[in-house]
Symmetry: C2
Subunit: 349 residues, 2 copies
């Protein structure tokens, strides 16, 4: 089974989803004047050969992990492209998770003021989230993702076969975003995810393909309306302001992003109910059951129990204040009104 | 006297030209959430106060010269913005020559994926050339300007008063581009430049304002047609492929860019006559006289005499082969057909 989603930002591009899709990389890149591949030390031995790209394609392997999202690594990667004398019609293939996608996207937007790039995301989080939206970035000493561009890929190849080998915590990170997207999409998406939950946990390729396609379609629809995050795209932050606060308190990397987001969704629902924004009270119970079916924490209490942590509400609010999407000193939240309808820019406090 | 040119790229912006224009910086930046200024050690003591910006505006001073167009300096400047907690509605003011404009433009395109910037060019070259077109860049070990973006400023303030203190070689660099633009524009622009030549050399503010306005208007017109350098914009390379070859042989920095471009224009005219592209034979003589009036070399021989150099034709061709705008091994030239009409993509050899 293979699906395809057309993302109608400018320029528009295609996301292909399915088992064995990686082998289409050669065909997708055949019209460019040259090809380079950016990947990391973990992914290269597993999937580099599967791309089927010609041996003369330059392969750049960086260390796995967040430390590669630095200016030092960015410059080294750009210099590798320059030494290959790749011209403006060349293409960079990103093979890996979110770090590789962010770094490759930024490299492609900067090299000779912009070349093409093709994303081959190999984690669930990158397939459902980072591969659509065109955000690229590296980190600064002051914070994550503070330097970057908006750059759309020429194509995305999301091969669900790469998810079989994914460590549990990385898989959970993706599931948090799948849950978020179903709540944003509406009741039908929630039903579909409820049906697919056991298949997802078993990493069944049909369930994975179906849910990834749903996430990509929804995000593509939102991003097309708002490519530079001026308005409607903010809904994608559901659970994230709380989630980032939780990650910050626990120390980045301790709690997988998707786990923190799942607990953040629980907090957003609770807060929406408390202040009267939520108009569909059953949604709290429904999302809690779905979280349980996906083995995600449905509340801050569940997350605290799972990680043997205790997070004081005052500390959480304090760490949420540092989020880069706030303006001034105010904390901006996305809160559910009902499945498929969010209220944006609710000020906490 | 103050002029204003509207540049109709997307987004469109205004270039203000005249004496004392720098003092408008405060008014131009007053609507942003915060302001930072990027300048260099030479320019800061001369013109920083003249901007009239509030004392709380963050001022970032980098070393003067090409060495500041590096990833190391870029990251430091970005980190300074981050420590000021500037948000996405902030503005970066670039006060200086081409290096500062290129670095500030790239910083502004990357910080939080894009903030506004205002150019205050303080050299003739930056006022007539770099301030229009939206090209930003830093250098890589492999070559100049290999990493950058296309990013349009919010506004340009070109204050001719800053040209009074400009060293002779920097002034000459700008004159080379003024000469080039007049040839590209056509017979009337050539006549106007012939009239203004003595005034330009005397750095008369009216002659400067008039000629800068002509250059900016012409370049704005070309760039609006072709923001990403796909076609017509290539005409702006008149004299540059030869000129870069000359600069490369002499060692970068030995011969001012505009001097090399002026000799390159002489070579382009000579070559156009030889291969029968030139249909207005009088143009050779006219441009030579105009070059003399601007105290620019009208031919390679004049440049060799002025710099006590000897440049073999074979060496020149060899060094032109390395130009980043070539595709494959072929040298692409812009050659004059007549004043105001160029032939693009002529292959040398």
């Amino acid at each position: 089974m293979a699906q395809s989603v057309q993302v109608t930002t400018s320029p528009s591009y295609e996301v292909r989803i399915g088992e064995g899709i990686l082998s289409q990389a050669e065909q997708v890149t055949s019209s460019y004047s040259g090809v380079a591949i950016l990947t990391d030390e973990n992914v290269a031995p597993l999937y580099l050969q599967g791309l089927g790209l010609p041996a003369e394609a330059e392969t750049i392997v960086v260390p796995a992990g967040e430390s590669s999202k630095s200016f030092e690594v960015l410059e080294k990667v750009l210099e590798r492209l320059a030494r290959q004398r790749l011209d403006r019609e060349a293409c960079l293939v990103a093979l890996g998770g979110g770090v590789i996608g962010d770094l490759a996207g930024l490299t492609a937007s900067l090299y000779k003021r912009g070349i093409n790039f093709v994303q081959c995301p190999t984690t669930l989080l990158a397939q459902v989230d980072a591969s659509v939206g065109g955000k690229t970035a590296v980190n600064l000493p002051s914070g994550k993702n503070l330097a970057g561009t908006f750059q759309q890929p020429a194509a995305v190849l999301a091969d669900v076969a790469t998810l079989a080998s994914l460590p549990a915590h990385e898989f959970e990170s993706g599931l948090g975003e799948v849950l978020k997207t179903a709540i944003l999409s509406g009741p039908e998406a929630l039903s579909s995810l409820e049906t697919d939950a056991p298949g997802l946990l078993a990493r069944d390729s049909q369930a994975l393909s179906r849910q990834i396609e749903a996430c990509v379609s929804f995000k593509a629809h939102i991003v097309a309306q708002d490519p530079r995050e001026a308005g409607p795209r903010k809904c994608l932050n559901l659970g994230h302001t709380f989630g980032h606060g939780i990650e910050h308190i626990a120390g980045f990397g301790v709690i997988p992003h998707g786990i923190a987001v799942a607990a953040g969704i629980g907090l957003a629902l609770e807060h929406a109910a408390t202040i009267g924004v939520l108009e569909e009270p059953d949604l709290v119970e429904r999302v809690q059951q779905l979280s349980a079916a996906l083995e995600l924490p449905g509340s801050l209490a569940e997350l605290e129990a799972r990680y043997h942590l205790s997070i004081a509400r005052e500390d959480l609010v304090e760490s949420m204040r540092a989020d880069k999407k706030n303006r001034g000193d105010k904390i901006h939240l996305v809160l559910p009104v009902r499945a498929g309808e969010m209220k944006l820019d609710v000020i906490l406090g």
